[in-house]
């Protein structure tokens, strides 16, 4: 099981500090939510972990091994699966083939990948759409496919970037159940960003709150939502009228 450690990670874009000395730990087998207002640096942190960006300073470790600055495919090789906030299905390929491309990462044969992909689609409730072109799925199904494809690579850490965005409440509950099941049955460690607080509260063991690229709070869901600092960054400081 994977333990993810971020240590004093900094990243600037043309002088703009997107992430500033971010440090937190995701313990093996837990679900951690990264929350914060728009522009707080959530997606930047995801991209730093996933190898899209290289941190200016600081270190990112998985299984005690540094993955900072590796290319995205090497990060996947190290055991990180990710989804994209703006879904990126292989639109012209079938749903099954999408999952198979992911499964081929660890499977040696195409036949093996097909078996693995079928099992993953089953788990995400996409088995009935296996032969459809991925581009023709509904948004909810495309978000599920993102998770399925990432999961097919057999990650020890799953990065989920707003997989609930745009889903209806019933679909959110389904996704929550699926993710809980993954944690329980496969021992996958999950780091997710999410705006849907209903999902965050239902899922996370820990919450990390970002504001202006800095970690301003972390703790259990119930503790974090009562934190005055967190309320301040979402609602603004209390000012006497």
């Amino acid at each position: 099981m994977a333990r993810l450690v971020l240590e004093d990670v900094c990243k600037s874009f043309r002088g703009l500090r997107a992430v500033s000395r971010a440090s937190f730990v995701v313990e093996p087998g837990t679900i951690v939510a990264l929350i914060g207002p728009n522009g707080a640096g959530k997606t930047t942190i995801f991209n730093l972990i996933a190898g899209v960006h290289r941190p200016d300073s600081g270190d990112i470790r998985l299984h005690a091994r540094s993955i900072a600055g590796l290319s995205p495919d090497a990060v996947c090789g190290a055991g990180v699966g990710r989804t994209f906030q703006l879904v990126k299905p292989f639109a012209g390929l079938s749903v099954l083939e999408n999952a198979m491309v992911g499964a081929l990462h660890r499977e040696r044969t195409v036949a093996g990948a097909r078996v693995r992909a079928t099992a993953v689609l089953e788990r995400l409730g996409l088995a009935d759409s296996a032969t459809l072109a991925a581009g023709r799925l509904t948004l909810a199904d495309r978000r599920r496919l993102e998770v399925a494809r990432a999961l097919a690579t057999r990650p020890s850490l799953l990065l989920l970037d707003e997989v609930m965005a745009g889903l209806r409440p019933a679909e959110i509950d389904e996704m929550v159940a699926v993710l809980r099941g993954l944690q329980r049955d496969e021992g996958v460690t999950i780091l997710l960003t999410e705006h849907v607080m209903r999902a965050v509260m239902a899922l996370s063991d820990q919450i990390v709150v970002l504001h202006h690229g800095e970690v301003v709070a972390r703790g259990t869901p119930t503790a974090v939502v009562r934190d005055p600092g967190v309320l301040a960054c979402y609602l603004g400081e209390e000012t006497p009228l």
Partner: protein
């Protein structure tokens, strides 16, 4: 008839006709058929790069030309036959494709800019060959034309039927290779890269190396076509063989037939040549000499296909013939 039977029937009938064609057809028909197979083959090769991996080359005449000059040069100057020359052709083209691919993919050049780079290299090499006097320069390189009725396999000289069967073998071989590749890891990875490169990387695909493989394989396959070209036509001019319009001719087949499909390049090449040369022939018989008439046909065909069959003519045709057009 079940669809499966119908499929086999169509396939077997086509195969039989192709095999016995030299015994029943005139030399003119045979030369047209050879051209169809030639374009089907180079189209298949180009399709590996664009149709499968999504990397648009508009300079594939480069590999036909270098392949042709490599084998013809060895033969004309040193008497080395094409069976050895083809390996030099493959090695040279693979190396050039490797350089172009390395430059492009390391510098993250893609899309339109990659296409421009491929055109630039083809032009560069064309100009270079204009100045290689040992290979005839702009005046051209010529191979001795041997007696047409004797088969000399070692020097690859012989009657039209020999060239026809060689090209039939190449086209069938390319089809088999591509079909096998699509079923393997390469096929899945290339198509993933074509659909979304960022997502492909995120599932662990080293997109740089897989794109390199596609480009090098495509070039190596095209090199073989160049060797055939040299020994079939016996004359090479840089101006012609490296020209941009030759590159376009290579891509028209797969585009019209269906990008990324296995049968597309074959069906497209057949449609192009039969309609193009057919019209020219008909006009000639009617006593009309229309220069460039073939290109008008190409243009109209391309227009019709783009408007009515944006995925090429093979997918709808396949349904009619009872083939299940596999989504690739």
């Amino acid at each position: 008839m079940t669809r499966d039977r119908q499929r086999w029937a169509v396939g077997a009938a086509t195969g039989m006709v192709l095999l016995v064609l030299p015994f029943i057809a005139s030399n003119y028909v045979l030369s047209v058929a050879t051209l169809v197979l030639y374009l089907a083959y180079v189209g298949q090769a180009w399709n590996v790069m664009m149709g499968f991996a999504g990397q648009l080359s508009l300079g594939h005449s480069l590999y036909v030309g270098v392949g042709a000059y490599a084998a013809a040069g060895l033969f004309a100057r040193y008497g080395v036959g094409p069976w050895a020359g083809v390996w030099l052709a493959i090695a040279l083209c693979a190396a050039m494709a490797g350089v172009i691919g390395f430059l492009a993919f390391r510098l993250r050049i893609s899309g339109v800019h990659l296409s421009l780079l491929t055109i630039a290299f083809a032009e560069l090499v064309r100009i270079a060959f204009d100045h290689i006097d040992g290979l005839g320069g702009p005046g051209g390189l010529f191979l001795r034309v041997a007696a047409r009725d004797q088969i000399d396999l070692r020097a690859f000289r012989g009657p039209p039927a020999m060239y026809y069967y060689a090209m039939l073998g190449l086209a069938a071989g390319a089809l088999a290779v591509c079909a096998a590749l699509l079923r393997r890891r390469a096929g899945y990875y290339w198509r993933a890269i074509r659909e979304d490169e960022v997502a492909a990387q995120a599932v662990g695909i080293d997109t740089f190396w897989w794109k390199m493989r596609a480009v090098v394989l495509s070039a190596a396959m095209t090199a073989v076509a160049g060797v055939f070209y040299a020994f079939y036509y016996n004359s090479l001019f840089p101006e012609q063989i490296f020209s941009f319009s030759r590159s376009i001719e290579i891509i028209l087949g797969p585009v019209i037939g269906g990008l990324g499909t296995l049968m597309g390049p074959i069906v497209g090449a057949a449609a192009l040549v039969l309609l193009g040369d057919g019209t020219t022939e008909l006009l000639a018989r009617a006593g009309l000499d229309v220069p460039g008439g073939k290109h008008v046909v190409y243009g109209v065909l391309l227009l019709v296909v783009t408007i009515y069959f944006p995925n090429g003519i093979w997918p709808p045709l396949a349904r009619v013939l009872g083939f299940r057009p596999k989504r690739l």
